[in-house]
Structure formats: C-alpha cells, structure tokens
Symmetry: C2
Subunit: 381 residues, 2 copies
Amino acid sequence: MTVTFDGAPKADHINFGVGQPSMDLLPVELIKKASDGFLAQAQSAEINYGPLKGDARTLEALANFLSSHYETSVHQDNLMLTGGNSQALDFLSSQLITTGDVVFVEEPSYFLAFQIFKDHGAKLVGIPVDDEGINIEFLESALAYQKPKLLYTIPCFHNPCGHTLTVKRRERLVELAKRHDFIVVADEPYHLLRYQENSPPPMGDFWQDDVVISMGSFSKILAPGMRLGWLQTSPNILKQLLSSGVLNSGGSFNHFGGHIIRHAMSGELLEQHLRHTKAALAERVDAMDEALHQHMSDLCSWRKPKGGYFFWLQLAAGIDTRDLRKVAIEHKTGFQPGPVFSSNQGLENFLRLSFAHYGCDEIETGVQRLATALRKHVAGS
Amino acid sequence: MTVTFDGAPKADHINFGVGQPSMDLLPVELIKKASDGFLAQAQSAEINYGPLKGDARTLEALANFLSSHYETSVHQDNLMLTGGNSQALDFLSSQLITTGDVVFVEEPSYFLAFQIFKDHGAKLVGIPVDDEGINIEFLESALAYQKPKLLYTIPCFHNPCGHTLTVKRRERLVELAKRHDFIVVADEPYHLLRYQENSPPPMGDFWQDDVVISMGSFSKILAPGMRLGWLQTSPNILKQLLSSGVLNSGGSFNHFGGHIIRHAMSGELLEQHLRHTKAALAERVDAMDEALHQHMSDLCSWRKPKGGYFFWLQLAAGIDTRDLRKVAIEHKTGFQPGPVFSSNQGLENFLRLSFAHYGCDEIETGVQRLATALRKHVAGS
C-alpha cells in the first residue's frame, strides 16, 4: 500500500492497517552474517546473469528448508525463484492471461492482487469464502456460466479473513481446475507462520495435477526488502514460465539476493529467526484477541487466527468501516476497511487488523483507541 | 538467452554470441566492499519494503552519478529504480500496453525485447534502421496507417548494429511521438560504455516532452546479477507507473541491491570500475576490428563501433547465417545470426559478434576460426 511504503504512519499512531513485520522482526544482523558468508567465497558467476530457475544450490537449500517444515517433501525440480510474491503474481499474469480474460478471486481477498490482475486487463469475478475457505458450491455455479483462466486463492491464514482452506476443499478445487481447465494460483506467504496445530500442506503439494502454482516468499519469514520468493509447480508449467522473454533476457529475477538467502538457509540462521518470529507473533495474536475481548466484544465478532498476520472483524450491519476509519485516525489508530478487499465494493461492515506491525503493549493501546472510536462512531451515526 | 544462462558455452569454444561481460569484468571485490559499507550501518527499514520509486538516497546518488557522466544534469525527481532493463521492459509492457496493441520496433533490434512484447500480446511492426539510427521517413510512412502505443529504440551503441541515433533524428522522433501520441521507450544499457568521442545525451534528456521513457541499467557497467536499473522520465509518466499494483504491493523492485549500489556510487568504487571496464572493452573493440580486417575483410563489411558490445557484419547476399552458425560451432566459435534480430525473419546475411565476453587473444583466435568456417561454408554452398 502506498501509504505504508511512501508515507510511514505518524509516530504516535498505532495503525493496524499496516500488513508488514514490525521493525524488531527485521533481522539486520542475520542478513549481515548471511551476506558475509556468501561474499567471503563469492565467484564472478554469482554476480553475472543467473540461471533462469535460480541457482541450483539455492533451489536445493530451499527444497531442504521447505521439506523440513512441510508434512510432505519438496523437490527442487518443482521450484523456481521469484522476486517475491508481488513480482511473481505480476509475472504469472503476464505469462498466463491476456486482456479480457476472466480471473476468479476470493471475496474478500488481498486488494493489491486485484490491482495487479487489472493492470493486465483481467476481468475479476468474486467467489465468496467462509470459515473453511473458498465456497466450492458457489464456485461450481460460477463455472457453469463463466470460464476463468486463473483462480487466485490465499489458502492458508487468509488475507484478510485468517481462515485456512480445508483439505477436502483443496481436493475439490483441484478437481474443478482440471475439469474446467483453469490454473489455481495459490498465494502462500503466511504458510510457515502458524501459531497452533499443523495446517494442511501448501497447495504446491498438488503440483502433480498440473493445474496449481504455489507462490511462497521470504518477505514474511525473513525480510521484505530482500525481494525473494519461489514458485512450486509442475515441470510442465515451469517449462512454460521459463520460456518467458523477461527471464530469458534478464536471467533469474534476484540472483544476488538468492545467494545471501541460500547462506541463511544452509546454516541455522533462517531457522532460528523463523522460531523467533513465530514466538513473537503468537504472543501478539493472544494480545490482540484479549484486547478485543476486553474492549470490543459487544461491538463485533471475529475468529482468533491460528497463523498469519490478520484479524477480520464483523461489525453491525449498517456501519461503514470507510467512515469509521476517519474517526479511528482522529483517535490515532487505523485499519483496512472491508470494501478494499472486495471485488465489488461490498463488505462495508468488516475490517482487517494486522497484529504483525506492533508489539503487545501497542496492540492493547491501539485496540482501546479503536474501541473508543467505534463507540463514538456508533453513537454519532 | 537461454543458451548462455542455462548452458554455458563449452570451455574450448569462443562464442561471440554471448552478450555478457567476461568474468574478469565482474567485480566481486567491489561488491564486497560496497556491501560491507552498507551493512556496517544498515537499519531495519532498509530490509523492509522500499519506497515505490526507490530509496531517496539511492536516487540522489544515481542522479549525481549520471549528471557527472552526461552532458546534461539529471534530477532525482525524474528517476525511479527498476530490477534491470529486462524487468523494466516487462513492467512497462504491463503498464502501458494491452493485448493487440501495436509496438514499433527497430529492424533489427534486441530479439528478447520482441519476446517480452509478445508475452504481453503486442503486435510488432519493424521500422528499418541505418547508420544514423531509426529511419524517420519510413517511420512517418508507417504512422500514416498504423497507430503504435509504444516505439522501442536502442538509441546508443545499438544492439545489434552498434550505431547511435543522431541528435537531429532524436528530435524528430520525439516530435512524431508527440504528434501521434505514442511513448518512446529507449533502452540505453550501453550509453556509458563509449570508447571514443562523446555521444549525444541519453533519450531521457527529452523527459520534459512527456513522451519518452529511458531505461538505464547497472548490468553492463557493474554486474548483471545485481538486477538493478532505473527509468528516467517525466513526473507525469512516473506518477502513472507508480500507481501499478506490483509496486504498491511489493514496494521498490530491488530495495536491498539498491543500498549496495548506493554505496558503490557514493564512493569511487563504481567510477573506478567503469573506467577499468571501458579501457578493457576499448582494447577488445580494436582487437576484433583488427582481426576482422586481417582475416575476413574480403568476406564481409562492418563499421567499427564507438561503444557498447557489438559488431554487425554484412555478408554476401545468399549466405544464410543460420546455416553458417552450424559450421561455426563445428569450428568451436559462434555468433548470433541476423534473423533472430528481425521482427520478420529477414536479415539472413547479417550476423552479430559480441566483443565483451572474451579477452583480446581469444577474440583474435575466435575471429580466425570464424573466417575458416565462413570460407568453408562459402566454398561448400
């Protein structure tokens, strides 16, 4: 979001609209160590154009890292490196859709993904989600009269809703993709950020069905500024992607950054940081859940997320969270109103809170401020 | 090109088809020093999402660096960072063209740019070039019956032809772009690699006309694997580009790499390396020109380039350089045949040689091999 990159929130505001890690979770020392490890042995070829899929050693380290965290093993033949999930989604849009193509998106979903698809001329069709993920019955109905090229889903710790797509629905989604000949693009940056019991394997685990592309990223488990991520998919789909002009012209999307993160993965650096990050975020989930119970339970409903970054709050019908946001800003807090996540400007009485950008004390204070703003707004409207 | 990234040429071949710097021109020590300089003082924000245009200090350092090398001064308000010119061209295609749009390209031109435009559904129309650059009369004729969205040009030390667009033609090109409402996308990775007298300012110097986007890159003056480049254009066009989904979602395309190159620009590191690179490449131009005169002057014609990476050779009509290439490979050498640079599979009797990927002795040996292959091919055909 422009507001967060180009205009940081005011220092005395607690803006839960910011879906970024807090500064204390950005590991400058780790990056220094990993860079030193790489640069101490760096070769000329490592600052030349990189292999299209990414450096083989980086892919191997990534496959090992993912295999150690997933229930199932990951093979490097199913992986390629990207410049993070935003770049990956833009790349997939360039390669897989043409102007006028239909893209199915979840309703609600990550609003900047909408913008990326629109930049490529796609027509968006929203498919509702519920607590188990995308609604398969509604999807089947929509498929009866529209043919999407892609379906974009956030299957694990959804943005903004926080839910995880059930295993049964994953299987049905893949069946439908095969039957109706569309690609499932699964955006899974939060997959490794689980704070409770295990979640299903990532959608990339369905690579053998030849209709799924899973996007993973180091942005939320290491550092967004490194701009490194990966795709997990079938060799067939990889082959198509590797024929792209941009890759053949420029080589691997982030060759240099890949070497640094290879060193972070090969030692224990990334592993330790991931443990630290999960522990810190797990405390923040609890802090936000408790603060909501204490200050706002009469005003809204929510489900405590089991991972990821976000709480999704439902307010009373009739409240427009776009208006509420103005009041919240007066009270030095903030959030993302529901309609920004809607492909058709709906969801007025919902809002998204991120618990990743602030520590527990600030979360408590911010929720207090939000409750005050909401009571004032309700009283005034 | 896939062949060079994923399958390096055999060790005993001298393949002039490779348009990459030689390994000895890739400055690992410089990158180490610049990384150390950055990381010694790095802050958390510097590994978070970056500002959409790029870090302000990096843009200021870039403006100063460019101003010190150009005849005219460059202001950071006209700059934004990219992930190198391939990424930049893909980004501009996403933002500025939709499926079915017409893009004018030079005939011949950089073949992987064609692929990038085609990936975005563009229809390519070739406009011939001559020793002074794109043929303006032909362009005017083409504009009478077709309306391009973009015109893609390599104005300085052209790939593959080596020529530089004259100042007079630059002015006429910009006039035509204003009159016919198209954007000139100028690919200028070789602009700072001049080995003789000064060349005109880059096309970015026409930013105030609001129809020109110039793409510059660190790939050819520092290291391709860093994946950092820049756009120079008008505030109006920048504003449009900065509204893109991919930037607003992921932040600056290469925040981390940008900090390292900022340090390389702020000290003398990049300056020294550029001097070294130019001196080395100037010797190689001379070596290739001399070898061509010695071994092939009766078989082809060429103009000695004043900068960049490439010689463009014209052979006798009737020779198909795609066939010649097979003979060349048998003789352990190589080049890029003319038709790959043509938007309509023409230019059969032309070929491109890069002098950047080998030292002077290898250039002499490789040209000898090529001459032998050509004589054999001519005798046998």
